[in-house]
């Protein structure tokens, strides 16, 4: 018997469905747009597959998975996929995040 992974929640007990909705923030839409463009849903690029996106979301620990919002999981996963594919490096990302935080943070 394979142990059920954290994201695999179909059929498990859970609380009442809260009919929550929010209008997505622009940064969330941009994360979505990066997925659409990198995966070639729009345009010619084939730098990300939906399976990679899911794999790297599912690789988040249960605690992180629950704590993070939907597009927080996505941006983490897309970034991880770009590092795994060698499109960007962890060093470049670390440098850039420091730079952006100083500039915009």
């Amino acid at each position: 018997m394979i142990e059920r992974s954290h994201h695999d929640m179909g059929g498990l007990p859970a609380g009442k469905v809260e009919r929550s909705e929010h209008d997505y923030a622009q940064w969330e839409r941009r994360v979505d747009a990066l997925m659409v463009l990198l995966s070639g849903i729009k345009g010619p690029k084939k730098l990300l597959t939906v399976d990679e996106l899911r794999k790297n979301i599912e690789a988040l620990g249960p605690e992180a998975y629950d704590k993070m919002s939907y597009y927080e999981r996505w941006v983490t996963s897309i970034t991880q996929s770009m590092i795994q594919r060698g499109v960007i490096s962890t060093e470049e990302l670390a440098r850039k995040m420091v730079e952006v935080e100083r500039r915009d943070g």
Binding site: W27, R29, L34, V50, E101
Partner: protein, 197 residues
């Protein structure tokens, strides 16, 4: 959100988004214009495309047959692009009510309905709708009589479902366009009926 004219600092993940995007732009992988164009397109995309498909199926029996046989091709017939996906349309009847979910993540017919609502992606909906759909639908104010079977369809990355809701009574003389106006997102997910009022 800004408060008293002061911008809140970026969260860690917003910082990650800006950084990732700027690196990809610097490397020529994407351009800011492309990202903005796609983000804006999703913002304007609601359930109108899905509603158009449903209204056509309600008014054109031959189209409905084609839609149920091959959802992707039938959407393309209306000029709606369903990129690289198999779309399966499931028809509500007086005997069967259909509802869609993605238990593993958040797969959704976004090309027809826009981005999914938060509750569709929630642990509560994903966990429970496959086990106790009648109870979950009741929480949406949708009472399905016991004699009506409920079928729950679990979407995948490669295959999306769309519910073809029942056409409300007393809409026989309505135009296709007027009908499209009453086809809601929730009726195409299957958590609510389409209503004439």
């Amino acid at each position: 959100m800004s408060e008293l004219g002061k911008y809140a600092p970026l969260t860690y993940f917003q910082l990650m988004e800006v950084s990732l995007r700027e690196l990809l732009v610097e490397k020529g992988v994407v351009s800011d214009a492309e990202v903005d164009a796609v983000a804006t397109d999703m913002k304007t995309r609601g359930p109108e495309r899905g509603a158009k498909v449903v209204a056509r199926a309600w008014t054109d029996p031959a189209y409905k047959q084609r839609l149920l046989a091959d959802g992707t091709a039938a959407c393309e017939e209306l000029g709606l692009d369903v990129p690289a996906l198999r779309l399966v349309v499931v028809e509500n009847t007086p005997e069967v009510h259909n509802v869609i979910v993605c238990t593993l993540c958040s797969c959704y017919p976004r090309m027809l309905l826009g981005l999914p609502p938060d509750w569709y992606k929630s642990r509560e909906y994903r966990s429970r709708v496959v086990r106790e759909p009648r109870a979950v639908l009741a929480e949406f104010g949708t009472a399905i009589p016991d004699e009506v079977a409920i079928r729950v369809h679990d979407s995948t990355a490669d295959m999306r479902y769309l519910v073809l809701p029942l056409r409300p009574a007393d809409t026989e003389d309505w135009s296709e366009q007027r009908l499209a106006g009453i086809v809601t997102r929730d009726s195409m997910i299957g958590v609510a009926p389409a209503k004439a009022a």
